[in-house]
């Protein structure tokens, strides 16, 4: 997926010599809206419709359930651990990979990308094979009375795994593109390494970082497959919100299931809004950079 900045671009000026006639254009727009309406909007609307099927009272009552509250608390806790870990890792990886050259760099990037390609269920499975009762470290963990699988640490680990590439993958291409000139300039002006990072590097990548954090957070709070495998579904203890949705749904408690789901849907909508805002900001920031940067195109071209 492209970075935050690349995706926001102004539409080109219409070219009357080529392009579709107005009826064709309208037909294609209508087809797109129809398809997206059916594929995307309808499921989203149905979440809220199902949640409110029993009326507002029943909807709100779903959130007084102590298990639902425990699920919300656990989800927040997992995200509160996984997201900062990913920020530290993402910044470290991007600094090492983008600002230096060393052998094995491509391999490292590929390894960071791997979790994208792995099925969530397989992600959960590999942690069971390491930390589970039958896992490699299982006997040692049991001897020390540490429980990872079917407990919160396992959920956190699985979440870190599935969100692992999010921050790093936003930062690496951007920081590679920006090069090291500005940092070197800061160093020649007497800045320390940390000052250089804080005052030069971080401001340059802040939108991409925020973008990565938004995506990472959404996935951390919403991950289902991997967490489902390692959690053991212990109600009120190791059930995150998505797992709570499943538990309630499988008990035919649809209103409560969709009520919890509606919170997650609102999180998704908030994520989309935040993402769009960051993309616009990043687009504006990179446009500003282009006018002050050195790589401006100086080709004579007729207005407008």
């Amino acid at each position: 997926m492209a970075g935050a900045g690349a995706r926001h671009r102004a539409a080109a000026r219409p070219r009357p010599g080529v392009g579709e006639t107005a009826p064709v254009r309208r037909l294609l727009i209508a087809a797109t809206l129809l398809v997206l309406g059916c594929v995307l909007v309808l499921p989203l609307v149905s979440v809220f419709a199902e949640a409110l099927r029993g009326g507002l009272g029943a909807y709100l009552a779903s959130f007084r359930d102590p298990e639902a509250l425990a699920a919300i608390r656990l989800t927040l806790l997992v995200a509160a651990i996984a997201v900062p870990v990913n920020i530290v890792f993402g910044l470290s990886a991007a600094w090492a990979i983008a600002k230096f050259s060393f052998p094995g760099k491509r391999l490292l990037i590929t390894l960071i990308d791997l979790p994208y390609a792995v099925s969530p269920v397989v992600s959960g499975l590999v942690y069971i094979m390491i930390y589970g009762a039958h896992g490699v470290l299982g006997p040692w963990l049991a001897a020390h009375d540490l429980q990872v699988i079917f407990a919160v640490p396992g959920i956190v680990l699985a979440t870190i795994f599935v969100t692992f590439p999010f921050v790093a993958r936003e930062l690496i291409p951007l920081m590679e593109e920006q090069g090291t000139e500005q940092e070197q300039a800061a160093m020649t002006l007497g800045a320390s390494g940390w000052q250089t990072f804080r005052r030069v590097t971080l401001p340059n990548v802040r939108w991409a970082l925020l973008y990565g954090v938004i995506l990472c957070n959404a996935r951390a709070m919403g991950e289902f497959g991997a967490v489902s495998v390692v959690s053991g579904h212990i109600r009120g203890k190791t059930a995150t919100m998505p797992l709570q949705v499943e538990i309630l749904y499988n008990e035919y408690n649809y209103v409560a299931a969709f009520a919890v789901a509606s919170l997650l849907a609102m999180l998704a909508l908030a994520t989309l809004v935040a993402k769009a805002v960051v993309e616009r900001r990043a687009g504006a920031a990179s446009a500003q950079l282009a006018t002050t940067g050195t790589a401006t195109e100086l080709q004579p071209r007729e207005a407008p």
């Binding site: 997206l36 199902e50 269920v121 160093m187 919403g222 789901a261």
Partner: protein, 280 residues
């Protein structure tokens, strides 16, 4: 500073050691060791053991469904995704920014939520299911339902990969084709499609890869009947619930190998995308 270290550093920036250390440590602990662990465990089963597990009829049926439904969904997404990306890049219409943002909904919506929402829609008494049932077209709890869920989660991959490629199309190139006498469909077929084909294939492959491993949005709508509507990830969960760790490991290892193969294909495709670039 040791001379050996300065050689591999670009300029004078500090922090290479610690950041690379953190990175390598994290990659090892989070990715490399766990994934290697799975292979070591499956190696313990022996090739024969793995083969025996994954060639039982139930597992084979699951692989057939997972790959078949994913392939169909990816193909549909290629067509629909092209339409959506084209419209979003080329035309202006009210609400375009909202529509553009909404394309990412399947990324942002937790899969369990998508799963129960799609099931509610397509169940025989749901909003859509009610319309389809009289046509003799049951969706929920059939392979068709699995495909519908996979279309939902795969769509943004195609759209988001195609959009930048379509934006990068040089308007002058289309004008050049028009000046040379090409009609609109000829321009689409001979100029636009070949130029964005690598991006289209990359996006479709990504959608396919995601679909093969997808779990949350499928398990609710599929009905999970062995031999009929059971997908591979679900089968792994089922094996785990029966404490059949060997079986789960064997299937998981095969899935992992297939994922790597697809990842490799995507990387090759991306190399192909760059083949017309200057200097190649």
């Amino acid at each position: 500073m040791k001379p050996g270290r300065t050689r591999r550093r670009v300029g004078v920036l500090p922090g290479f050691g610690p950041t690379l250390g953190i990175t390598v440590f994290m990659v090892s602990v989070v990715v490399v060791i766990p994934l290697t662990g799975l292979f070591v465990r499956s190696a313990g089963l022996g090739f024969g053991g793995v083969w025996e597990t994954v060639t039982t009829s139930r597992v084979l049926a699951a692989f057939r469904l997972s790959f078949g439904a994913s392939l169909i969904a990816a193909a549909i997404n290629a067509v629909v995704g092209f339409l959506v990306a084209w419209t979003l890049v080329r035309y202006e219409f009210p609400g375009k920014r909202i529509v553009d943002a909404l394309v990412d909904l399947p990324f942002a919506l937790p899969t369990a939520v998508s799963g129960i929402a799609l099931t509610a829609l397509f169940a025989p008494q749901g909003w859509v299911g009610r319309l389809l049932a009289p046509l003799g077209l049951p969706v929920a709890f059939t392979p068709l339902g699995v495909t519908v869920a996979l279309i939902f989660i795969g769509l943004p991959f195609v759209v988001r990969t195609l959009q930048p490629a379509l934006m990068d199309l040089d308007a002058e190139v289309e004008e050049a084709a028009a000046v040379l006498g090409a009609g609109r469909l000829q321009i689409l077929g001979r100029v636009i499609l070949p130029t964005v084909l690598p991006a289209l294939l990359t996006g479709t492959t990504l959608a396919f890869a995601r679909a093969v491993g997808e779990y949350g949005s499928v398990v609710f709508i599929s009905g999970n009947m062995p031999h009929k509507t059971e997908i591979v990830p679900l089968l792994i969960v089922a094996k785990l619930e029966q404490y059949d760790y060997a079986g789960a490991t064997a299937i998981g290892a095969v899935m992992l190998v297939l994922s790597f193969a697809i990842l490799l294909a995507v990387n090759l495709l991306q190399g192909w995308t760059g083949r017309y670039r200057e200097g190649n």
